[in-house]
Symmetry: C2
Subunit: 398 residues, 2 copies
């Protein structure tokens, strides 16, 4: 007899990015796919030194089981950092260490979602959030967005008209995939609607530290009077992704539920990685390290934007992000980014077509470019080729 799998297995599909990444592992491919940070900026020497110190000073503790909640000094650091940067008022016990911020999304699904529940999200949104929540059998309603965030009226209409809305999922700063940032006013309005309708908000913020210009904005959480907003964060983009350390922070009473589901999910995060990171944060100035990253990514963003201005047809719209890793391109209706990708791959250029960033109706005339993982000359060269391919497709469609 054949095995029977869970219903969810019929509608989960492989991440297009992870599949494209396998193709782009070859050195000669210019890849705008993935969200890979620049490996040459990882603090390798410092991490080596911190490994030595942690193992010398507390080796058996670092290799043993620890609490589900996570390593206390690291949770304290995170609470302090968020309070300084994002206008929150967290303490250690509001913070749960997660296996990357991706796990914060999975646990959110487990804590909040029953089959048939509704998640409101930006349109487009982070595709691995779609996978994380969808595994719990939810439906998505996409809220229209502009350059300042979700349109508040559309959001309120959806909240008013829809039963079983459990979550509003947003990435207000340097959004993935669009690179856009929400205005202060929209942040305040989101917190207000969340309180009024009793719906939790997940404010996902993996890129917020990487601001190239302008002021850091207060978080949605800073306007949250009801205790409904949960904040995820990550060390993947400011330290390294290989350690898989992120967090979710929110009111103790909610975080307690996350701890409970994390127990059954994987007991706890890597003890050693948490201690090495905490030691690094104690002994080094991460702000100086972030400055270095920002400097490099800003130059790459500049080259990407300039190259698109130079090589892309005028009618093509794209984001000029103030930080983060991504820019987003909208092509005229009817042009397929998947077909453009096929042609680009022949010339060893890769990116991610935008379709899968939409949970419901895919808009295939969009795509995402990552500019953080390549030197400037390759960005320029890649976008020149990409521009030619785009032009060819536009001509063909006319």
């Amino acid at each position: 007899m054949e095995l029977n799998f869970a219903k969810r297995m019929s509608f989960l599909k492989a991440s297009e990015i992870r599949e494209i990444l396998k193709v782009t592992e070859r050195e000669d491919v210019i890849s705008f796919a993935g969200g890979l940070p620049a490996p040459e900026l990882f603090p390798v020497a410092e991490i080596r030194e911190m490994c030595r110190i942690v193992l010398d000073e507390a080796g058996t503790k670092a290799l043993q089981y620890t609490t589900t909640e996570g390593y206390a000094p690291l949770r304290e650091w995170i609470a302090r950092r968020m309070n300084e940067r994002l206008g929150t008022a967290f303490d250690r016990d509001d913070v749960l260490i997660t296996h990357g911020s991706q796990q914060g999304l999975d646990l959110t699904g487990k804590v909040f979602l029953d089959e048939g529940d509704v998640v409101l999200c930006e349109s487009p949104t982070y595709l691995a959030a779609i996978s994380a929540f969808r595994a719990y059998g939810c439906r998505f309603i996409e809220i229209p967005t502009d350059g300042n965030g979700m349109l508040p009226d559309a959001l309120e209409d959806a909240l008013r008209a829809t039963e079983n809305v459990k979550l509003i999922y947003v990435i207000p700063t340097f959004q993935n995939p669009t690179g856009r940032t929400w205005s202060l006013e929209r942040r305040r309005k989101l917190a207000e609607l969340s309180a009024r309708y009793g719906v939790a908000v997940v404010e996902d913020n993996p890129y917020g530290e990487l601001r190239f210009e302008g002021e850091h904005l207060p978080s949605v959480k800073s306007f949250d009077t009801a205790g409904n907003v949960l904040c995820t964060g990550s060390f993947s983009k400011i330290f390294c992704p290989g350690f898989r350390i992120g967090w979710i922070a929110g009111d103790k009473d909610i975080i307690r539920r996350y701890v409970l589901v994390k127990q059954g999910t994987d007991l706890q995060c890597n003890t050693f990685a948490q201690m090495v990171l905490a030691e690094y944060l104690k002994r080094y100035d991460i702000d100086r390290h972030i400055e270095k990253i920002v400097e490099v990514y800003k130059r790459r963003r500049d080259v990407a934007v300039e190259s698109m201005e130079r090589y892309f047809p005028d009618r093509i719209e794209f984001t000029r992000p103030e930080g983060g890793l991504f820019t987003w391109i909208e092509l005229p209706e009817g042009i397929s980014a998947r077909r453009i990708l096929d042609d680009c791959l022949k010339q060893k250029i890769a990116f991610v077509p935008g379709g899968s960033f939409y949970p419901n109706v895919h808009r295939e005339n969009t795509f995402r470019l990552n500019y953080s993982n390549m030197p400037e000359d390759r960005i320029e060269k890649g976008l020149r080729v990409l521009g030619e391919v785009v032009k060819a497709h536009l001509r063909e469609s006319e």
Copy 2:
């Protein structure tokens, strides 16, 4: 308005072990709770050296994202090891690296279980497996077991009489919590029933390498002609738990589905930890390391068994395990292990009452003792005190 959580939040509860562990963190407590390996046996110096080598030779790779499937050399090592030890025929692509074997259980729930599905398990069984599966809304049917494993007739009756049985979950070697090991014949029979009824088996095996005497037995998987058996394993007990590295292995077609759900769950395991471990396995003889662990745990098992024989009343039954970390005690009906624990905690002795190892009707006259995490004199002292408390409770009940 109040937030609404998922239904599962109403029936998930905190792991009793994790809660007891918080109490027992004090140095002066003699703890038979938890399943902590002995930290003095962790290969701290070797790990420090491997951290250095990995960061020197492949630092940026070790800190970057990697594939969801896991680090290829580590997957190869695991496949080879299982084939040598457990009579399986795996190759690298049958193996997915998981965040501890606990994550293998969570992903199993995601791949197989819909609300209302049934999991057949040993009675008693590993309590964090209960939490992992229960989060997906399943019911449990406990199959009676004796010293040789599940009773095959009872298992077949349940398979025949029950709709929507999706999984059979077993720990055939040095079971948690009982310390018992399934006979060869029962292993064969389980594989046969699994094939006949088209039901997946999860063969959980975190302790199998820790055999004090007797021969290693072939796995249930080695008798699996239908491709229905999945094997989990872990480095937590033979290397260190702080790294959180385990695996699940099975037919490629099923593992592919696990990879898919792991993508949405947490993207991948810690790259660095996988590479450090793989480097350790390449440069050191882990069998010699395991021999050292076995030697220490065997002595502790001996002291535990001898102490129970000496200090416990004759009518108390307990397991004499051939390996692993646990022994299991059955008290006369009506005696409460929770009440005994209360009295023991006053004398700074801790263990885990057996009730929560039963998913349905708790049998409160049972408890689990771990002997791997304490020196022999403290085991002897702790069991002397525990024996006195047990005797007092028996007298009281008469």
